[in-house]
C-alpha cells in the first residue's frame, strides 16, 4: 500500500447525546487519522448512526466537542460539516427521488457553484460554463462507480443496490476529504457487497479519502478497515486494530449477547 496514514484530522472528545431522556451516546471519544479507513461497529441500537450524525452535525450533542483539523466545534451543523469536506451516505438511502442520477450527483457539486441566480436564470457565462464543468466531474464519478447505463434514470426506478451506489456517488461528487458511510453494504447480495468493498478501497486508495464506516458484516470490517471502534448501548467498549478488537473479551460478549 502506498497511501500513508497521517495525523489525526478528526477528534471527538467526550461526546454525549440524548433524545428527551433517552441516552443515545455516552461520553464517547475517538479519533480518525488522515487517509485511514475507520470502522464503527456494534450491535443494533448501539448508537453507531447517531455517532455519524453527530460528526456531520445532523444531531447536536449535549456534551463534548469535535476537533476537525485542529478547529474546535462544540456543535457542528450539516452545512459547516459539508464545507469542511465531510460528506456521507445514508443507511436508508436518502436520494432525491424526483431527480435522475446525474442531477442527484450534481447536487453534490453544489458547494463548488460560484455563479449566482441571475446568471443561472440566463444560462449565461459562468453559469453555463460551470454546469458543463461539473457535469464532466460528475461523469468521472459515474465512470468510477460503473453506473454509466443508468445515468439518466430517475433514481426512484433503480433497484436498491444501485441506489446505494448512486448515494455513494453523490457523496463522492463533493470530493470530500472525509467520507462517512452508514452501512454501505446493508441489504446487498454477495456480489454487490464485493463491488461496494472494492469501491470503498479504491476511493480510499485513489483519492486518499479518509473513510469512517459503519458496517454490520464483521468479515468486511475486519478486511478493509485500519482501525475499529466498538459501541454498545451508546458506550465505547473497544477501539483499536481489527485484530485487537476481535480479541477484546468485552466486544466478544457484546456480540454474543446480540446473538452472534
Amino acid at each position: 500500500m502506498s497511501r500513508e496514514i497521517g495525523e489525526v484530522i478528526l477528534d471527538l472528545k467526550n461526546v454525549s447525546l440524548a433524545f428527551g431522556g433517552v441516552k443515545a451516546l455516552t461520553d464517547i471519544s475517538f479519533d480518525v487519522r488522515e487517509h485511514e479507513i475507520r470502522a464503527i461497529i456494534g450491535p443494533n441500537g448501539a448508537g453507531k448512526s447517531s455517532m455519524l450524525n453527530v460528526i456531520n452535525g445532523v444531531y447536536r450533542p449535549q456534551q463534548g466537542e469535535i476537533i476537525l483539523r485542529g478547529k474546535h466545534f462544540s456543535k457542528m451543523n450539516p452545512y459547516k460539516a459539508a464545507r469542511a469536506g465531510i460528506s456521507r451516505t445514508f443507511q436508508n438511502i436518502a436520494l432525491f427521488k424526483g431527480m435522475n442520477v446525474i442531477d442527484n450527483m450534481m447536487t453534490g457539486r453544489n458547494l463548488k457553484i460560484r455563479s449566482n441566480l441571475i446568471q443561472q436564470a440566463l444560462w449565461w457565462g459562468p453559469a453555463r460554463r460551470e454546469e458543463l464543468e461539473h457535469r464532466a466531474k460528475v461523469e468521472e464519478v459515474i465512470d468510477f462507480l460503473e453506473i454509466q447505463h443508468i445515468r439518466k434514470t430517475p433514481v426512484g426506478r433503480l433497484p436498491y443496490g444501485l441506489q446505494k451506489r448512486v448515494d455513494l456517488g453523490r457523496a463522492l461528487a463533493m470530493e470530500p476529504s472525509i467520507l462517512l458511510l452508514d452501512e454501505p453494504m446493508a441489504g446487498m447480495n454477495v456480489e454487490e457487497k464485493q463491488d461496494m468493498c472494492r469501491f470503498v478501497l479504491d476511493i480510499n486508495d485513489q483519492f486518499g479519502t479518509t473513510i469512517v464506516l459503519i458496517e454490520h458484516d464483521m468479515a468486511v470490517v475486519m478486511d478493509i478497515s485500519d482501525r475499529v471502534v466498538v459501541l454498545d448501548y451508546g458506550r465505547k467498549i473497544g477501539d483499536g486494530l481489527p485484530d485487537e478488537v476481535r480479541a477484546n473479551p468485552e466486544v466478544i460478549s457484546a456480540y454474543l449477547g446480540a446473538s452472534h
Binding site: 451543523n77 450539516p78 452545512y79 459539508a82 427521488k97 457539486r109 436564470a121 454546469e131 458543463l132 457535469r135
Partner: protein, 358 residues
C-alpha cells in the same frame, strides 16, 4: 412513433444539456412559437385574445411562479393571490407615483416588491412544513386582502377602492388593442418561461428539488435550506408578482383587491396540480385547462341540457362548474397525481418507444 432519434448523438455536454435534446422536440416547440407569434395574430379574433389567450398567458406566468415554489421546492402555498396583488399594487404605485417611469420598469419593480414580501412570508418555511406552512401562507393572503382594502395610500386614495391605469406604452408602442396586449404578454411569458426553465435545470433548481425531496440529505451535501427556500419564495413571488401586475395593467386595466382573492390562490394551486407539479410544461397545461374549462362549460352545458329538454340557467351553470371542477380535481389526484404533464411525458415516452409498449 414520430420520433426518429437515430443519429442524434451528443458530442458535448452543452449539446446533451440543452433544453430540448431531441431534434423533433425542438422542431415542435419552434412550430408552436411560430404559430403563437404569427399564426394566432393572423387567425384569432379579439374575443379569443381578450377572453382566453391573454388570461391564459398571464395565468401561465403566475402558475410558473407557483410551480417553482410548490412543484420544485415543495413548499405548499395557498397565498399566491396575495403576491399577485402585491405585484399589481406595487407596480401601480410605481407607475402613478414616479413620473415617466417606463412601463416595463414598473412591472418589474412590482415583481421585485412581491419578491421581497415573498421572502418575508417565506420565513416560516424555515421552521414549519407541509400543511402548517400552507396555513401560514394563507396569512399572507388575508393580510394583503386587508391592506389593499383598508389602507387608502396603496390605492392612491381612490374613493371607490378600485384603481385603474391608462396610457400604457413601451417606447412609443401603445398597448391598446387586444392584439397589442396579446403580443406583449406572449413576449413576456416566452422570456420568463425560458428563465424559469434555466433556473430549474441549473444549480438553484437542483437545490430546490433537493430540499423538496429530502431536506436533511440536502443540508448534508451543503445546501443551505435558508437560501434554497427563501430563493424559491423570492423567485416564485417575483413571477407571480409580475403576473399580478400584468393581470391588473394589461388584462383588467382597473381592478379591486377582490381580483386577487383567496379564490385566485386556489385557482393557481389547481393549475399547478392539474398541470403537473415540478414541470414547466405542466404550468402551461394547467393554466390552459383552468382558463378554458369554465368557458367550455358555459358553452356546452346549456347545449347538453337542451338536448334533454332542460334549460340550464346561468346560475345553474356556475354551480355545475363548481361540481365539475371539484370532481375533476379529485379525479386527477386519483388517476394522475402528477398531472397533465405526466400524461404528456408518458405519452411522449410511448411515442419514442412505439411500437413497443415499454
Amino acid at each position: 412513433m414520430l420520433y426518429r432519434e437515430n443519429g442524434q448523438f451528443k458530442t458535448s455536454y452543452a449539446a446533451d444539456q440543452q433544453i430540448f435534446p431531441i431534434a423533433q422536440d425542438r422542431w415542435a416547440i419552434l412550430g408552436i412559437l411560430v404559430f403563437a407569434f404569427i399564426g394566432i395574430p393572423l387567425l384569432g379574433d379579439e374575443y379569443l385574445m381578450r377572453a382566453i389567450l391573454i388570461p391564459f398567458l398571464i395565468l401561465s406566468l403566475a402558475a410558473l411562479g407557483v410551480n417553482i415554489l410548490v412543484g420544485f421546492c415543495g413548499q405548499i402555498t395557498l397565498g399566491a393571490g396575495a403576491f399577485m396583488a402585491v405585484g399589481a399594487y406595487a407596480a401601480y404605485n410605481f407607475h402613478i407615483r414616479i413620473e415617466g417611469l417606463p412601463l416595463l420598469v414598473s412591472i418589474l419593480l412590482g415583481g421585485i416588491t412581491s419578491a421581497l414580501v415573498g421572502i418575508v412570508f417565506g420565513i416560516p418555511s424555515l421552521r414549519v412544513r407541509g400543511l402548517y406552512l400552507a396555513v401560514a401562507t394563507l396569512a399572507a393572503q388575508f393580510f394583503t386582502d386587508w391592506v389593499f382594502l383598508r389602507i387608502p395610500w396603496f390605492t392612491n386614495n381612490a374613493s371607490s377602492g378600485s384603481v385603474s391605469v391608462s396610457n400604457l406604452q413601451i417606447m412609443g408602442w401603445e398597448i391598446i388593442t387586444p392584439f397589442d396586449k396579446y403580443m406583449f404578454c406572449l413576449v413576456w411569458l416566452t422570456v420568463f418561461a425560458l428563465l424559469a426553465k434555466n433556473m430549474t435545470r441549473s444549480a438553484i433548481g437542483r437545490q430546490w428539488m433537493a430540499i423538496r425531496d429530502m431536506d436533511v440529505a440536502a443540508e448534508v451535501i451543503g445546501i443551505r435550506p435558508l437560501f434554497a427556500k427563501l430563493s424559491a419564495f423570492a423567485v416564485s413571488s417575483f413571477f407571480v408578482g409580475t403576473a399580478g401586475a400584468l393581470w391588473g395593467f394589461i388584462h383588467l386595466s382597473s381592478w379591486e383587491p377582490a381580483a386577487f382573492s383567496v379564490d385566485r390562490s386556489f385557482q393557481l394551486l389547481f393549475m399547478v396540480i392539474i398541470g403537473g407539479l415540478g414541470s414547466i410544461m405542466g404550468s402551461f397545461f394547467g393554466a390552459a385547462f383552468i382558463v378554458t374549462l369554465p368557458i367550455a362549460l358555459n358553452q356546452f352545458l346549456p347545449a347538453i341540457g337542451g338536448l334533454f329538454g332542460v334549460t340550464i340557467s346561468t346560475a345553474g351553470v356556475s354551480h355545475a362548474e363548481l361540481i365539475i371542477f371539484g370532481s375533476l380535481i379529485i379525479f386527477f389526484l386519483i388517476k394522475e397525481p402528477h398531472g397533465i404533464a405526466r400524461l404528456w411525458s408518458t405519452g411522449k415516452e410511448k411515442l419514442r418507444l412505439w411500437p413497443f409498449p415499454h
